[in-house]
Amino acid sequence: MTPEALLAHVTSQLRGATALPLQDTRGQAVVVVDRDHLTAALRFLRDDPQVVCDLLADLSAVDYLGRTPRFEVVYQLKSVTQGHRLRVKVPVDESDPAVPTATTLWRSALWAEREVWDMFGIRFTGHPDLRRILMYPEFEGHPLRKDFPLNARQPLEPERDPIQQPWFPESRS
């Protein structure tokens, strides 16, 4: 589908979704969805026979410090069968940085959401195993936030004993 047709179809079918004008987005299809309608919207985008976004290519976030709402969680969707791309953006407020998980729809969200939690401190409610992924467990702060200082020092952690410490999270055993 062309971006115009895709956006017209998606916004006519979805509640709480606004399409951004194509001249502002370099011709790429972008919809902004509010958080309460997110899961239903993503499910529709995956299952609708005309949209079929079968690949969640990427999931990340942007910190617009000083703006309200402060964060935006961004889903890059791709339909391998239909050929089009669609970007879904969800504004998230600083006071309650949480978004419903997409892991029930695409398993690629499992690690991607862990990374967004690690880097931005945005929680994904319903995620089965929301641990840090790139940083170590004792790391303090969320480094990709704009107010995380570049030269931040971390407290020295005592050496971990690999024999004594279990490494399988309890949720998995």
Binding site: L55, L56, V74, V80, R87, W111, Y136
Partner: protein, 403 residues
């Protein structure tokens, strides 16, 4: 926040039953890359595996926010350091889309040429390592030798073997050398011979097939759900290749096939990569035949660095250079997601600009990150020796996975 952050607790033997927990890595001689597998084993069978990444995290995305757009290119080299030119091209295309900048036709051909040579080198690295890790040392060394031939080509163009930093906003650093076509033909003659040798050594080798076929298999729908792209997805039979699906540069002018597998196992992944090298060679030959004369940089003083003669020879050139280097290119505010076909799959750059000279946000979609996420699923129920072959075919490049 995390189970690992809790107090150290000794785990009583009865909690595990007959299972054994073993940590493989982070520094293991048979895994190229720093990575840890926390394995739960029943004998030699893997019951559960938790993959731990992040050992090579350098904060690429945070660093990119501190510099001007052109300063990000050296960092982009160090993402997938097996094919740095593909990262260079991917990042350049994304910024140019954001800036609305058109590059000359010759520049697009040059980017295709160096990118495809880099892709062959990337696949050779992956396959050579995969072969030598399971004992096919001679085939491994042959492939590394073939890669050396390609590195010589890349060195002739960019002046460096690995950390090339060849692309610039709106063009490339310099034009191809005069005798590039002859050099490529000579290199491809060597390469063709080595690939034929490796094909004879591996493709129908009983030991190799026993180690690879049926191991680490994943179906087409599962692969898509895990976000797999590139050779991992194509081995399942889905012919998704960004060069065909969303053609960029001049890829729509070339005649090349997208090799696919059927079973989605390690053997199919190996064969898909092998066939892709031959397709890349076809693309390079066609590009050499079609490449037009002309400039390799766009003529747009807002974004493109002036030639050195002008910088040192005229006050306008000097001012222009100074402003671009110190203040950065004022890429108009907005955001863009541009995907290219990297060595391991869809390499995407999601860029946000606020109109200042520096990126507001640079997000890389690293293809092997998603491959590593699916690795646990591929390995459950396999043998411990299969970790090596499957991990080899996922082809994790630490720089790209951990950024």
């Amino acid at each position: 926040m995390s189970a690992m952050a809790s107090e150290p607790v000794a785990r009583a033997p009865h909690e595990l039953g007959d299972l054994m927990e073993i940590q493989m890595g982070p520094s293991h001689p048979a895994s190229h890359g720093t990575i840890k597998f926390n394995l739960k084993l029943d004998g030699e069978t893997i019951v559960d595996v938790d993959v731990e990444i992040g050992y090579l995290h350098r904060g690429f995305e945070k660093m990119a926010e501190q510099f001007t757009w052109n300063h990000v290119f050296p960092y982009a080299d160090r993402l997938n350091y097996a094919s740095p030119l593909l990262n260079n091209v991917g990042f350049a295309l994304a910024v140019e889309k954001l800036a609305g900048l058109e590059t000359p036709e010759r520049c697009q051909y040059v980017r295709v040429l160096v990118g495809e040579i880099s892709r062959i080198a990337d696949h050779l690295t992956c396959l050579g390592m995969a072969a030598s890790e399971i004992g096919a040392l001679s085939a491994g060394f042959y492939m590394i030798e073939a890669r050396e031939v390609l590195y010589d080509l890349i060195e002739a163009v960019t002046g460096a073997r690995l950390t090339v930093t060849y692309c610039r906003l709106g063009g490339v650093m310099r034009d191809l050398p005069e005798d590039f076509a002859e050099r490529v033909r000579a290199a491809f003659r060597d390469l063709g011979g080595i690939l034929a040798d490796c094909d004879r050594l591996l493709s129908r080798n009983r030991i190799f097939i026993d180690r690879m076929a049926g191991v680490g298999a994943i179906g087409r729908d599962d692969a898509l759900a895990w976000g797999l792209t590139g050779p991992l997805l194509r081995a399942t039979g889905e012919p998704y290749d960004v060069r065909k699906a969303d053609p960029y540069l001049v890829y729509d002018r070339f005649d090349f096939a997208v090799p696919t597998g059927t079973r989605g196992d390690n053997y199919d992944r190996f064969m898909v990569r092998f066939a892709e090298m031959q397709q890349s060679m076809r693309i390079v030959e066609q590009a050499l035949a079609q490449i037009p004369e002309g400039p390799v940089r766009a003529d747009d003083p807002r974004f493109v660095l002036p030639p050195k003669q002008e910088v040192y020879g005229s006050i306008e050139g000097l001012m222009n250079h100074f402003k671009l280097v110190i203040e950065g290119q004022k890429v108009p505010a907005g955001e863009v997601y541009v995907a290219t076909e990297g060595g391991n799959g869809e390499l995407g750059f999601y860029l946000v600009s606020d109109g200042s000279g520096r990126p507001y946000r640079v997000r890389v979609r690293p293809p092997c990150f998603y491959g590593m996420a699916a690795l646990g699923d591929m390995l459950r129920g396999a043998m411990i020796a299969d970790v090596i072959t499957t991990f080899g075919q996922v082809n994790m490049i630490g720089g790209e996975c951990d950024r």
